[in-house]
Subunit: 445 residues, 2 copies
């Protein structure tokens, strides 16, 4: 875990929840904008806010620095670092010592992020499941749950209710472990605008135009405010950036294969959302102009050749409401079983999907010029069969390939990257600006 | 013309030329980076540099403001504005008065950019022509020349020589008009890295890996330094941004159709280059996976269906080394003639090209989410026949279309947008940071 607090978390949609009323609860105050030269006290607060983030960033970068090392790296005096560390520790953000060995709270010991501090709750509504998870400040998943359900055939309210139920259960488990849920992030299977509204969900057409955060928040029963609401592919890409195990991987596209197919583009370590936040819709890039009709209305979209249901159909596996995580008897597990035993129809289906995916990804790389492609979600599980055809198309079709080959990687995050990214967006927002979440830190001295 | 100096010009590749030795010549100094708190005089210089750009920006934004209006808009005192305007006027960047009516140099009169001040020289090497133009500070093209030549069958040095010859001729004409060429921008038909190197030119394979600026500069005979070297589609998009007539158009993709097809993506008013500067290669996005072999080695690239030569072949027009600008008897003119008289084969070829272009553009819009598509270059001339099929594919395939329709526009810049962008990059760099080009401005007080 070495998330850098300087990187943007998911978009903030304002506080739709009720707050838990506790003194420790984050305020999610908007960053104060200073139009003119600030007065002396305002300037001191601004400086302290900046320095709190700086010190927390040094701790979050890992390496277990001492107060003295943080002072040396930031250029702040040891005395300043000490007051800042005290404030961060008082709000449960950093710990001194080695919690595994029972050594905590002694000055001079290494500083780490507090795994018992504020945590983020992620909630995901996808096409064939709802899920939730809790991520602590260090990025560790403390609890995660997934409930398969065919949301295309359920009322919106029933789906929101199911999502809220699994979220409340995760939050209760987190509380029993001593954690405080500081905020909620929501992952959605469609185009989410910068305003947080789900403008279009090709696979859940009844949801078009819904502002999910205020609809979901009351069902969470005063858990905590909703701080982020975003497309699931974007959040999965952020999870890969924050928790994928390679902090040097700052420029890549992460492609999530589920029933829908989406891409998250990360450039310079931050999510690149396009002009209006709706980019990355790789699943609706045309691969076969005269091909099958897609849920979006067009013909020959990538989803119709390489989406989960398209692969299952082509392999002759019955399409049930099932998914890759927690349902060992589901359709995807049957697909994997057949692939492992070398079933010809399954192998042909996977080869066809890999070729289509490679064609679409090559187009994306030609347009946005990212050096690395990461296969995530279902595609990570299917990588033993997809990687070769994807790589072949990238090599043949990326125009700069001979000069700089596109690298193909497989995500290690498994099938719940999006909900982990939704939870992570909450804690990343705290790490990036701790005093923005806990304004009381600015009053201490 | 209302270019905003805050927008980035083309990439700077360092000074490869010899400079013209005149005192008025710009220095193209790298922006000085101040790591620590600057000393008092350094801070004063830094402030003056910032304020010079601020004042010049107000003048460049148009509306002919007086000194008093500039002071009111920038928050600077009238005395400060006056010393800054004097420095800008002394270096030929601003004029007071109405040059058309012979009223210049009187304080209190409106301020405009000086059309007789420093100018940019653009040079373009494309597949079937070389060209050059000179753009003054106001963005007006003062002279432009194009020489058709089949560069695929010529030695590199002969092509560079032809380009240098046309450039020297334009520069001489500009000098006779009283202009000073302040720098050179180069437009190239391929992947240009952030280092200015032409890494790959699918239609000019012998040029792969060439650093064109130092190869061309000596042939320009001490004209002026090369300050920008970039892909022609990027520079054409910047020309559309700066000189396209709609300063409110800040988020768009501009697609240039020539023998090669390229896109320039503008987001928030600035060119978006992808992770490493090689993005926008729309011509090599796959439209028909099993289609014709492309110059890049792949099959079914957009260029093979909608590039200039592909359209000519499909229409049955002989493909000669000819182009849209200045060669009325060329193949493109013959194509236009046949289209106007309703030749069925030509109309079918254009419909097919428009459909392919629409499919590729829809994929780009799905991935990068720009609200506006601008047809440029050859596509602007062919827009009467291409617009309908392009629009139909965008409507059918852009997944967010129903919520927010993609708008299709036609560039009014004509066939020489790229070379105009190359010249414009020189003057935009001066407008964005006048003291960076003329450090002597910082010494005055």
């Amino acid at each position: 875990m070495s998330a850098r607090p300087s990187e943007r978390a998911g978009r903030t949609t304002g506080s739709h929840g009720h707050g838990d009323g506790s003194a420790a609860g984050p305020a999610h105050a908007a960053p104060h904008r200073l139009r003119h030269a600030p007065s002396q006290p305002a300037r001191a607060k601004q400086l302290r806010r900046h320095n709190l983030a700086l010190v927390l960033g040094e701790v979050a970068a890992g390496g277990r620095p001492t107060r003295a090392q943080v002072a040396a790296r930031t250029g702040l005096t040891k005395a300043t670092v000490s007051t800042l560390v005290d404030a961060l520790a008082a709000h449960g953000l950093v710990l001194e010592g080695d919690p595994d060995r029972g050594l905590v709270g002694r000055p001079g010991l290494p500083l780490v992020l507090d795994p018992g501090g504020p945590a983020g709750l992620g909630v995901e509504v996808n096409v064939d499941y709802v899920s939730a998870c809790v991520v602590d400040l260090t990025g560790t998943v403390r609890t995660a749950r997934l409930v398969p359900c065919d949301n295309r055939h359920l009322e919106r309210l029933a789906v929101l209710d199911a999502a809220a139920r699994v979220a409340r259960r995760c939050a209760a488990e987190a509380r029993r472990a001593g954690l405080t849920v500081a905020g909620v992030g929501i992952a959605l299977p469609g185009l989410v605008g910068l305003d947080g509204i789900l403008h279009r969900a090709p696979n859940l057409p009844g949801w078009d135009g819904l502002d999910v955060a205020p609809a979901l928040a009351p069902l969470l029963e005063a858990l905590s405010p909703v701080v982020a609401s975003d497309n699931e592919a974007n959040l999965a890409a952020l999870a890969e950036r924050w928790y994928g195990g390679d902090p040097s991987n700052r420029d890549f596209v992460h492609v999530s294969g589920e029933i829908g197919v989406g891409a998250g583009i990360v450039v310079g370590g931050a999510l690149w959302r396009g002009a209006r936040g709706l980019g990355g819709e790789l699943g609706h890039v045309t691969v076969a102009p005269g091909g099958d009709r897609c849920g979006c209305g067009a013909r020959g979209c990538l989803e119709q050749l390489a989406g989960q249901e398209a692969i299952l159909r082509a392999a002759g596996v019955s399409v049930r409401a099932a998914t890759a995580l927690g349902t060992p008897d589901g359709s995807v597990q049957e697909l994997l079983r057949r692939a492992r035993v070398g079933d010809q129809r399954t192998l042909a289906a996977l080869a066809r999907a890999g070729t289509a995916l490679g064609v679409a990804l090559a187009g994306l790389v030609n347009v946005v010029d990212v050096p690395v492609v990461v296969l995530g979600g279902l595609y990570a599980e299917l990588a033993p069969w997809l990687a070769d055809p994807v790589r072949a198309e990238l090599e043949a079709r990326v125009v700069g390939f001979a000069w700089s080959p596109t690298e193909l990687r497989v995500s290690r995050l498994g099938g719940h990257a999006a909900v982990r990214g939704a939870a992570g967006a909450v804690v990343q927002a705290i790490l990036a600006d701790p005093a923005g979440s806990y304004p009381a830190m600015l009053d201490a001295s």
